[in-house]
Symmetry: C2
Subunit: 138 residues, 2 copies
């Protein structure tokens, strides 16, 4: 048995940071996760990649907004092929801060949210740790 | 302005628990989330719905296995339509315990993992809280 198989069982390949950023840049929807006293919460979100950071929007009344500052956040993006039982997944983890839209180099109307309603709170997750894996087709 | 819009901006509809369970039962792949000292971690996983609980497998060497017991877990499943900018998302939250496969009513070879390799550790997340939302097409 190849000793590496203990670390990457099956057809799982670790992605480089470059590959992770390329995959992140090619999608608009992911899931943001935050920790609460009763475990993690994961909700879909539209995002925009800015270098190695991730920008997302929410309303000031959301539970996500209330947990800003008390926990690092994570953004997860993936894609699967159920027929080939393959896919990839990327995770960005890091501290999150509220951003003044006017602090952005040029005002980005990004990320645009699929859902309507006002989401004036712009959040930046600093990509302190970016990792990903690809599950190859059989 | 409809006062409800403040709670469900855009075209977001809260799903009933029955709808959530139906959607969970129709999929095989989701994302399991656990809390760590440096925020939440979210990784794809094959799962099997058992009533209002979720069964999943991992290897005893994974970070997920090490965090069993120290935090409640969450399983998230969703589906999006990028063209219509619509989709749905379901979240199961609750305490997680290690399960002896022989304690299952009839031994289930479920969930079967897309990735190969040995994943002898069977985990049951009790669906203490099950919630979901649907984002309607424009």
């Amino acid at each position: 048995m190849n000793p590496e198989e203990a670390w990457f069982p099956g057809r799982l390949l670790e992605l480089t940071q470059h590959e992770c950023l390329e995959l992140l840049g090619g999608s608009r929807v992911g899931r943001v996760a935050y920790s609460t006293r009763t475990g993690p919460v994961v909700v879909p979100v539209n995002y925009h990649l800015d270098g190695t950071d991730v920008l997302l929007r929410t309303a000031p009344t959301t539970e996500l907004a209330h947990h800003l500052g008390s926990s690092e956040l994570a953004l997860q993006v993936d894609e699967f092929d159920a027929f080939n039982e393959s896919g990839w997944s990327v995770l960005v983890r890091g501290p999150a801060v509220r951003v003044d839209p006017y602090d952005l180099p040029a005002f980005l109307d990004a990320p645009r949210s699929w859902a309507g309603g006002s989401r004036p709170l712009l959040i930046r997750i600093s990509g302190r740790a970016i990792s990903g894996r690809r599950l190859l087709p059989v």
